[in-house]
Symmetry: C2
Subunit: 225 residues, 2 copies
């Protein structure tokens, strides 16, 4: 559901400069300082969880990939479940920022198309196994929901935020006469949520890029006034 551009250092630019600088706030704290970057470690864990899933990612995998010892991970992030949920939260936070920024434009449909095609950008979607990983929120829905109340809450809230943001944009576009008013903006937004989640999921199993783009165009054309 989201792609991240790789930075020059090989890590992903999940956080903007503002929130990154916030991490240097343990200046006034006593005690031995942490030897690893907390945010960067969370980002790296996110990419691992993203491509392998929650259950298939062991603590040992994380220790190996992050170069941080078990005890430090537990001390910093709590147990595995809490670590994962924190990664999901970060994932959505970044995606939502991107969503809002992209849809704040007119005409809307091209922007909408870009949002939808994001999961289809195979060349930008790199994981440690070299395949697209779908949307982390969607993966969480499949794997943790409904056994985990907290995961359900995060997932539900994310979906709700998506539809709220897209509904607002569609309302404006309907008012501008760009999008058909045969359906309510909320219904159209819900439809787009299903579409992007389905695309993200199905893409995990391999993606025919041309077919995916044609499908997206078919859906977007259906919205045109």
């Amino acid at each position: 559901m989201r792609t991240f551009k790789k930075c020059r250092n090989g890590s992903y630019d999940f956080l903007n400069a503002k929130s990154r600088s916030r991490s240097i706030e343990h200046v006034a704290r006593t005690g031995r300082p942490r030897e690893f970057n907390k945010e960067q470690t969370l980002e790296r864990a996110l990419t691992l969880f993203w491509s392998r899933g929650y259950g298939a990612t062991s603590i040992q995998d994380l220790v190996d990939a992050l170069a941080v010892e078990r005890g430090s991970l537990y001390g910093t992030f709590g147990d595995k479940r809490r670590f994962y949920l924190e990664a999901v939260r970060l994932y959505w936070e970044v995606y939502e920022r991107h969503l809002i920024a992209t849809l704040d434009t007119s005409p809307l449909l091209p922007a909408l198309r870009e949002i939808l095609t994001h999961p289809a950008r195979l060349d930008e979607l790199v994981s440690d196994v070299g395949v697209p990983q779908g949307c982390l929120v969607g993966n969480t829905t499949a794997e943790l929901v409904p056994q985990d109340g907290e995961a359900t809450e995060i997932v539900t809230r994310s979906y709700r935020r998506f539809t709220d943001i897209v509904t607002d944009a569609l309302s404006r576009a309907q008012a501008a006469g760009e999008v058909t008013d045969r359906a309510h903006p909320a219904a159209q937004a819900q439809m787009l949520l299903y579409l992007v989640q389905g695309l993200s999921l199905v893409s995990r199993a391999g993606l025919d890029k041309a077919a995916a783009l044609a499908a997206i165009d078919a859906a977007v054309d259906g919205l045109r006034a």
Copy 2:
């Protein structure tokens, strides 16, 4: 992505009478007869896998829920992974039969709407935890793909079958002037695959039935000629 009507005995009617009678073929075989029904056990395992996922369902869970000892399960179905994949295959086989039967009609759009609303029929979607479970193929995509080649194969083939079947139906409906020809049938079918998979997935986290139906109607309206 699929609902099953509960039978009077509390089990699910996954198999039709024909394939069920095939199971009484161990009449001429020697040795101690199996004390449990293989198909029925597979069905029950399917519902368990369906609601909990692959990783979260332990052998012990299966032994408890199926009332079949570990050894018997291994002897009959092989290891856990093979057992699961067999359940996924059965799941899709039943769904595909339903899909073909439902779409073999004219006009097509109401039938298509019924296919799409299937995951939204909360009252018929019962799991052991009392919530909808999404599509087992979709769940498998999220959890096992891309680490498991055989799972990927099953999932990919299922998606392909879906789009093939729906494309055929849409071609006929386009020829009949019922569905718009602004997009190719294959693109429309792909779009519907994404839609139904997204709906199944998102439904796992809780479903606003009215919103889901409105979204489906918005998509189906976009197909109308």
